[in-house]
């Protein structure tokens, strides 16, 4: 099979998002970085390092024979599941902000949940393309993957990291859908899943508060509604062109997680509607190019892999922006390429590498 040039549109798109990310991480985090670490560039330096590492991962994943990756899909998933299990062990998983999400040695830490995001996409692409007809059979073709998804979801929720769990769950479901599952099966799953999710939310006090805060943030403006209100205030302050790069006011400790999950709010405040629209457009462009790659992919596995990676990235982006702009309940979920955070960036870019890898094997048109 002849290899073509990778899809440059995806590269440009990702590069632009990365650039925006670096600028916004610096802009939004400099105050906190200075106050907490005495170095305004603290987060920027780290994000820069992760970006370089991510670019390396992307390059590697673009170059390797992704069929080799396919061969190890089960092993990769197994390692990821193991990591997700290990991170839950007190003393092994490192805690931060009330969640145990990181494992590693010294300063080399990573989030298993970010790893499994990618490996589960690879695994699903492998599994679903192995016997395409089996997907029509609910018990043998759908249920196992739903159960796998449930396991992963359960493990990640234990950290707890509901946002990532939701993103993974939705991605898996989307892949089952793309692989050709019967709509009846999917609707049945949906009917069973929604009450389950609601129960899950209701069973945990903080999740319930978050949901209620989402429904009426101003009911408790200093408590549970604080986060969303500050985010909406930041975005609203932006107007058409924003306050100007670096001129955010809400980043002065009013908006929590301003350089991670809520970086889009600062972006909206500093760059305004134009900036927000630009970022949304980039993700939409990425979706188009990624799905185009999937449709032109040489085989089912490549197609599902490309579609899965694209879905994973764009889904997270849309969820993130939905949360930040107050139309979805608060779940911690980073904005791909833009939010500060190494694991997310490196694994997302590894995924982009695979997407680009697939795009090199696409047929014309």
């Amino acid at each position: 099979m002849s290899r073509r040039a990778p899809d440059y549109a995806i590269i440009v798109c990702v590069a632009t998002l990365l650039a925006i990310g670096l600028v916004m991480v610096f802009s939004s985090s400099s105050v906190r970085a200075y106050v907490d670490f005495g170095d305004s560039y603290y987060f920027l330096k780290r994000q820069l390092a992760w970006t370089i590492l991510g670019l390396g991962a992307m390059y590697v994943m673009m170059r390797v024979d992704y069929w080799e990756v396919r061969r190890h899909a089960r092993l990769l998933l197994f390692i990821s599941l193991l990591a997700c299990l290990v991170v839950l062990i007190p003393g092994v998983g490192r805690e931060a902000g009330g969640a145990r999400r990181w494992i590693g040695f010294g300063s080399l830490q990573f989030q298993p949940s970010e790893l499994i995001k990618l490996t589960i996409v690879v695994y699903m692409a492998w599994a679903l393309s192995r016997n395409p007809e089996r997907i029509r059979d609910f018990v043998r073709g759908v249920l196992p993957y739903v159960l796998l998804m449930g396991l992963v979801f359960f493990l990640i929720v234990q950290q707890p990291d509901l946002g990532t769990a939701v993103a993974i769950g939705m991605t898996v479901m989307v892949m089952i859908f793309l692989a050709g599952a019967r709509l009846g099966h999917l609707l049945g799953l949906l009917a069973a899943g929604v009450p389950l999710v609601l129960l899950l939310i209701w069973s945990e006090e903080y999740r319930r508060r978050r949901l209620l805060a989402f429904l009426d943030p101003f009911a408790d403006p200093h408590g549970s509604g604080f986060h969303i209100i500050q985010s909406i205030l930041a975005i609203g302050s932006g107007g058409l062109f924003g306050l100007g790069l670096g001129r955010s006011r809400q980043k002065f400790f009013y908006l929590p997680a301003e350089h991670t999950d809520f970086i889009f709010a600062i972006l909206g405040e500093e760059l305004g509607f134009i900036g927000g629209l630009f970022v949304i457009s980039l993700f939409l462009l990425l979706a188009w190019r990624g799905f185009r790659t999937a449709m032109a992919a040489p085989d089912m596995f490549s197609s599902l892999l490309a579609a899965g990676v694209t879905t994973l990235i764009v889904m997270q982006a849309l969820l993130n922006i939905g949360v930040v702009s107050g139309i979805l309940p608060i779940t911690g979920i980073p904005l791909p390429f833009v939010s500060f955070g190494g694991s997310s960036l490196v694994f997302t870019m590894a995924g982009v590498g695979m997407l680009l890898n697939v795009s090199r094997y696409c047929s014309e048109s």
């Binding site: 205030l233 930041a234 002065f252």
Partner: protein
């Protein structure tokens, strides 16, 4: 190898892409809604959350007297505040602050730990405290300058000036009435803070400068006010009254030149005084004017033509009105109108009042504003009152005609008397003259209406002439000074205590003006519940005399002598006898002092505690060069003459006032029992008793009278 992706997969991918697209549109719409539709509101909201508006007080206007002397100023002092988020060690900080400022530790700690970005610790502290706190260099504790009101003259004119509170808000006096003008409008410093209460670097600072208040120039003259305060102090020292007030006014314009009240307070520390001391007797309380009301009855009658200056009145010591016998304080015999006024004859005034009739009496009572607010620019003004016209019986009218049963405020009375002084016009008494800005430019000249002419010039002049006789030879003669041409009227009224007219509780007053021909100054002295002596002519008139003497000098009012008075050299007329030297009489017994003064060619009047026997002070002082015939006022007090004995005179058959005067002259006090004519006294006449002894005199109405009102009004 797996199969190529089929048509189904492509369709489903396109469906998914569509979903993403739709959701992106929704998100974009949401952004547009937040940023365009609600943008301004959210921006404002965010701004308000992040910013604090620290008010910058406007500099409160200075209050000056009419000549630009400062009566109330504002000085910059430090106020201490805390930014709780920046306080590093609240308990330690609170302990230090509590120690240095003298506050309660728990209270300070509670403030320092409040979930606020700004709290006051202590406002308007002294320089020493401020310096001490600054030396502590406590993080999170800051200073801002505020202005504090200072009244450099202390109690001087306290009831005119009033005072301002901690926020420089006027609370009483002109500080209250003209608060808006004095206050100006505050400015703001808008500071943007981060969520932890720290100032955002290069943040938006908006400074809206305050507009300073205007300076207020009063009509009060500090010099005149000082004289008023001095006389009030003297009255308090001599008579220990419940309260007292003196008002000095320009009768033509209503400008108050001086207004003092006792008891008083220091507006610098107003909170340390009981609020009752803040009360302005001059405008907020009514009193019984007594005989000082009589000129008003006189002008009404003259104006209406029911009497004229040739009318004759006969006083037989009492008058029967309806079924009641009302007593005069003496038996005056035949008098003309001037005589009635001069002698303050109750019978004469009753006759005048009855001739005038109810309708006309009330018309003048109202026209002279005795039942309505004067409109003075001081807070808490009260209205005078009397029996409602429809309930007024003949006997009430008779009694009101000599000033009984009426209640007026001092400011109402002086305004009514000013009508006589100024030729018939009802003025608006006032204390504020004009506002100026900080550059001294006049901003507003206050316009004080001079009301309608309520009596004719002629009537006013004639009544003035009669009132001049009161001072010259009548009940106010203690205030007489040759050449001054003073006119006035004394008043002594019994107060009602619990609805019953009391024989022991009195209001003494004197209202007068000068020069009688063309009055330039009008003065009212009211002394409520003096101890010991209580006659207006004794308690209030000396203060009037002293004030007038000093005011004539201050305003350089020329003295005009009548033919009967000692000839005075005219300017440039050098061959007439020169001035005489006032001998030193301080320390002498009163009798000797009077003889010495007579010998020296000056006249003498005794004022002060009538129980005293020795001259404690004389005015003018020893050695002064004065024109012959000048009145020297002797103040007497408890001297160290041992137990000098005096002989008790007989007062049998005399009225209350006459008896009191006689005993006073003998150096004795009187205790009145009953009313009417003196029938008994203890100790008996001829007894030798120590000077200052109180003689109890029993009075009884002469046989045949069913009721008795005499003694309610004295000269």
């Amino acid at each position: 190898m797996t199969r190529l992706p089929g048509i189904g997969l492509r369709r489903r991918i396109l469906f998914l892409l569509t979903c993403f697209f739709v959701f992106s549109v929704v998100l974009t719409g949401r952004l547009a809604y937040l940023q365009f539709v609600r943008g301004a509101e959210l921006r404002e909201r965010a701004f308000n959350i992040r910013t604090h508006e620290v008010p910058v007080e406007a500099k409160r206007g200075v209050i000056y007297d009419r000549n630009g002397r400062e009566l109330a100023i504002s000085v910059n002092v430090d106020s201490i505040f805390a930014v709780p988020a920046e306080v590093e060690d609240p308990p330690e900080t609170a302990r230090k602050l509590a120690d240095v400022i003298g506050l309660d530790y728990e209270w300070v700690l509670e403030r320092l730990t409040q979930n606020q970005s700004f709290v006051w610790v202590k406002r308007k502290v002294s320089d020493e405290v401020s310096k001490a706190v600054k030396l502590l260099q406590l993080p999170g504790i800051g200073f801002t300058q505020e202005s504090r009101r200072v009244y450099p003259k202390g109690t001087l004119a306290a009831h005119v000036i009033g005072f301002a509170g901690i926020d420089s808000q006027g609370l009483d006096g002109v500080e209250y009435i003209y608060d808006r003008e004095l206050r100006g409008s505050p400015g703001w410093i808008v500071i943007e803070y981060d969520a932890l209460g720290r100032e955002i670097p290069q943040a938006l600072h908006r400074y809206i400068p305050p507009t300073d208040g205007y300076d207020l120039y009063l009509t009060i003259d500090e010099v005149v006010q000082s004289m008023v305060e001095r006389e009030l102090d003297r009255i308090v020292a001599l008579h220990q009254p419940k309260k007292a007030t003196i008002i000095v006014m320009d009768p033509h314009t209503g400008e108050i030149l001086g207004l003092g009240v006792r008891p008083t307070y220091d507006p610098n520390n107003y909170a340390d005084y009981p609020p009752s001391t803040w009360r302005n007797f001059a405008v907020s309380d009514t009193y019984h004017p007594g005989s000082t009301f009589k000129p008003i009855t006189a002008i009404a009658a003259v104006e209406e033509g029911v009497v004229d200056w040739n009318s004759r009145f006969s006083c037989g010591g009492s008058l029967v009105v309806e079924d009641r016998t009302i007593w005069c304080h003496s038996t005056h015999g035949g008098l003309d109108l001037t005589g009635v006024i001069e002698k303050s004859c109750n019978v004469g005034f009753m006759n005048i009042g009855l001739r005038l009739g109810k309708e006309r009496f009330y018309r003048y009572y109202r026209a002279l504003g005795l039942d309505s607010l004067t409109g003075i620019d001081l807070p808490g003004e009260a209205e005078g009152f009397t029996i409602p016209q429809e309930q007024c019986r003949k006997v009430d009218l008779a009694v009101m005609s000599f000033g009984q049963t009426l209640a007026v405020t001092p400011i109402e009375l002086i305004r009514a008397m000013a009508v006589i002084a100024n030729g018939g016009y009802l003025v608006t008494p006032h204390v504020a003259k004009e506002f100026r800005d900080k550059e001294g430019r006049v901003v507003t000249v206050l316009d004080w209406p001079v009301g309608p002419q309520v009596i004719s010039e002629d009537t006013a002049r004639e009544v003035r002439r009669a009132m001049e006789a009161v001072v010259k030879t009548g009940t106010g003669r203690v205030a007489y000074m040759p050449g001054y041409r003073l006119a006035g009227k004394t008043g002594t009224a019994q107060k009602t205590v619990g609805g019953v007219v009391s024989a022991d509780v009195h209001v003494a007053s004197f209202c007068g003006f000068g020069p009688a021909e063309d009055p330039r100054i009008i003065v009212l002295v009211v002394v409520d519940e003096p101890k010991g002596s209580y006659y207006g002519g004794v308690v209030a008139a000396p203060a009037f005399g002293r004030l007038m003497r000093d005011l004539y000098r201050y305003y350089e009012i020329p003295l005009v002598y009548t033919d009967e008075e000692e000839p005075r050299p005219r300017d440039g007329d050098r061959d007439v006898p020169d001035e005489v030297t006032v001998p030193d009489t301080v320390g002498l017994p009163v009798g000797e002092a009077l003889a010495a003064l007579r010998e020296a060619g000056v006249r003498a009047a005794v004022a002060g505690d009538v129980g005293g026997e020795v001259v404690v002070r004389q005015t003018p002082g020893p050695g002064a060069e004065v024109p012959p015939g000048t009145l020297v006022i002797l103040e007497v007090g408890e001297g160290d003459l041992g137990a000098e004995l005096v002989t008790v005179p007989s007062v049998k058959g005399r009225s209350v006032a006459d008896a009191a005067l006689r005993l006073e002259q003998a150096g004795l006090h009187i205790r009145v029992e009953g009313s009417g004519i003196a029938v008994a006294q203890a100790p008996a006449a001829g007894a030798a008793v120590p000077r200052g002894t109180t003689v109890t005199v029993t009075f009884e109405p002469p046989p045949g009278s069913s009721s008795d009102l005499s003694g309610r009004t004295g000269p």
